[in-house]
Amino acid sequence: MPGGTGTGAPALRVTGLSKTFPGTRALDGVSIEVEPGHVHALLGGNGSGKSTLIKVLAGVHRGDPGGELAVGDAVVASDRTSPTWARAAGVHFVHQDPGVFPTMTVAENMAIGRGFETSRAGAIRWKALRRRTVGLLERFQIRATPDTPVGLLRPADRTMVAIARALQDQEGEHEGVLVLDEPTASLPASEVDVLLAAIRRYAVAGQTIVFVTHRLDEVIAIADRVSVLRDGRHVGTVDVAGRTESDLVEMIFGRPLDEVLPETEPAGARERALEVRGLVAGPLRGVDLVLGRGEVLGVAGLLGSGRTELLTAIFGAMPIAAGEVLLDGRPVRFASVDQAMDAGLGYIPEDRAAEAAFPEMSLRENLSAGQVRRYWRGLRHRHGAEAADARGSIAEYGIRASGDQQPFSTLSGGNQQKAVLARWLRRTPRVLLLDEPTQGVDVSARAEIYAVVRAAVERGTSVIVVTSDFEELARVCDRVVVLAGGRIVAELSGTEMAPHRMTDLAFASTDARRADEPRAADTPSEVAR
């Protein structure tokens, strides 16, 4: 039933769903119905509550009491959801990272999680598995054989394998709900269309799909209806037919889309601490920016915009294909991180646990990582001096710990981040690069972290902050540039630095780029593969 005429009960019904976290209300009385066989888009800015909604649906979080969720005949109170319920009700999830096993074959990927069929003797029944997989590949129109390793498939097909794996046990398409959580966010542009076409086909065959995305053009292209969340509230649900992207932006932000006019202002009279010219690296396709001395420059970019790569390329942790970086007016090219550090750069990565923390080591050792040599005098390590410095940093940066020997992994997220910040600020870097400095950090620690950054700026450090929290950028930055599609598309300062404006620019430019650039095949990410 293409287009889903809504003959009977909705495939998914959310009624009066609220979700309160300590201190915030992530969802506030949300009621949404999804017709069977529809692609139903779910839109909303950062912090609008759409992630929370998805997580309640998945049973990761439980809602507040009083609401109700229904998938077909399966009904559950909003405070009783669980992963088991979601599975039984037929809610299937495919995320941005499709979670496939690249070195295993398509058939093996299908069987994992579901369980391998075995003979009496306990051996896998390969023939039966292959036969089943061929059926699934046909049903989902994936061009692959059961024996192809998934890693050899094109990216869109990998996601389709994940979809097929999620839906394989459904008898027909007319049951259950498939939730796609930003499935295109990490795909190259050329792959996005392949995947969108496939999603459309599945819906035409009758599959109900909830589609979470940031990209408005995708919503226009494949969704039947769209629900918009803002600040945890359901703003409205409308048919997509006949809508434009600016209509959607207006729903998301509650005001009309200002005409997108990138106003580029010179960095002002400040001395230039760091300058980047025509930087090409990874997804970056020619970035120009200027960082003034003692300035806090924000980089607003969506996931996949190249925001992290911009920092790692400057820091020498990622190879630069073209372009140049000037530090205090002199061109520099760092072959390794320690060269960048010697030149006075510091970098705090986004993923603290994976890239910045030494979890089993003490707070003291984490603070002095990268400058251990400083305590090496007269052929011995000056533990006393190191401890004294550690205690100094703990006090100066307001790190709450039982002592400088406390294992790092037992500190809270905010205190870990303060310690990582302290590690770099002790060196009084000339340029500090911060990637999502407040991720996983509570509100009060956030304020402390930015106070510390400000204090460093007073002492002459220049800072580049990258985050997807645009409100935060507006609060803490002197100036913000918007990065989209590997390029700086706008520069905002003063009163222009409104969060909604950054969002508009980041969204709109992402769409514009994809419209006017069909030669996605020669983007670096494609070449790299």
Binding site: F358, M361, E365, S402, Q439, G440
Partner: protein, 348 residues
């Protein structure tokens, strides 16, 4: 975006666990647990020693100076090998060649002294060069080529064993160098001389791992290699260095092995020496600095096993007990320290 809700909850869990130390309610256990964890092996060692010395010593020789000297002397070589093992372990790597390197360098030392009648310094120098070269090959393959350390060193161990067989052809080479043999079997002030060699190696490794930037860097790499790279460490070079160091220490163990035995037996070496050394390293990581490979813990582990086996052997417990006890002690100690560690980190 994906963490908009997680953020709000993350503040409570780890923070609560972190400040649990001085909480009054569970003060007793929370104060005792870390001590128990740190000194558990030492306490066991003392209890075990007292047990054999006072209660179960049929021949009555456990406490005799001769037995103490014998145990201490015999386990000096395994001690040096265990110290060789911890260096790559600290930075998250494995070296399974240490026993084979000791076997090969024992053979080379004996050969230089006996077959070629070379001077002792040359024999020792050659042994060290062999250790450095094998360590460098291991380190290069692991750090720069990216071969899994387990495969690299397992393969290299087999290659070395092949070389030993090729050269020795099954024959034991007996040495007569007086300096070396007295180092191996004579005592100084009642202490076996070879124990001084172990002590010297231990001091050097302790210093390197605990009191130099190099050691700190290795710990950092072992804890989080990505973060180590992002604070400016040359991770590959340091990993290579750790293998060179373990090869060198294994070569020293080889020289000491000849000294102790008075000969180089091609059958002694390889996994017979490697596995107990690794077992001691892991056992040692449960003591003194729990969760870290450390010199004092490792030495404690070596002699804990040594005296336990001596006590059992003196009471005519069969040979099977050697392997059985070593393995059981390792598994039990690591399991226990994991449990205590988990409790320390909080209920979650």
């Amino acid at each position: 975006m994906t963490t908009d809700s997680d953020e709000k909850t993350s503040g409570t869990g780890p923070a609560a666990a972190g400040t649990a130390g001085p909480a009054p309610a569970r003060a007793g256990w929370s104060r005792v647990a870390p001590l128990l964890e740190k000194y558990g092996l030492l306490i066991l060692f003392v209890l075990l020693f007292l047990f054999f010395a006072n209660f179960w010593d049929r021949p009555g020789t456990f406490r005799s100076a001769a037995n103490l000297q014998s145990v201490l002397g015999t386990y000096a070589v395994p001690g040096v090998l265990a110290l060789a093992a911890i260096v790559p372990l600290v930075c998250g790597q494995f070296d399974l060649t240490i026993g084979s390197v000791a076997g090969l360098t024992a053979l080379s030392t004996a050969a230089v002294l006996t077959r070629y009648e070379g001077p002792l310094w040359l024999a020792v120098l050659l042994a060290l060069v062999i250790g450095v070269v094998i360590g460098a090959v291991n380190g290069f393959l692991v750090a720069y080529v990216g071969v899994n350390p387990f495969i690299t060193t397992l393969g290299m161990a087999s290659v070395i064993t092949g070389l030993i067989t090729l050269y020795a052809n099954g024959a034991t080479i007996i040495i007569s160098d007086p300096t070396l043999t007295s180092l191996g079997s004579a005592s100084l002030f009642g202490v076996p001389q070879i124990l001084f060699a172990l002590a010297a190696v231990a001091v050097v490794v302790y210093y390197l791992l605990g009191h130099t930037p190099f050691g700190r860097y290795l710990h950092a790499i072992g804890s989080n290699p990505t973060a180590a790279r992002l604070v400016g460490l040359d991770v590959r070079r340091l990993v290579l260095a750790s293998f060179v160091l373990s090869g060198t220490l294994a070569a020293i163990a080889g020289v000491l092995l000849v000294a102790r035995n008075g000969n180089a037996n091609p059958q002694v070496g390889g996994q017979i020496l490697t596995l107990p050394a690794l077992a001691a390293a892991f056992l040692g990581a449960t003591a003194i600095r729990p969760g870290r490979f450390n010199v004092l813990g490792t030495l404690l582990a070596v002699f804990f096993v040594a005296f336990a086996l001596s006590g059992l052997n003196l009471n005519d417990v069969d040979q099977w007990i050697t392997d059985f006890f070593t393995g059981a002690a390792l598994v039990a100690a690591v399991a226990l320290s994991t449990l205590i560690g988990r409790r320390r980190a909080g209920a979650g």
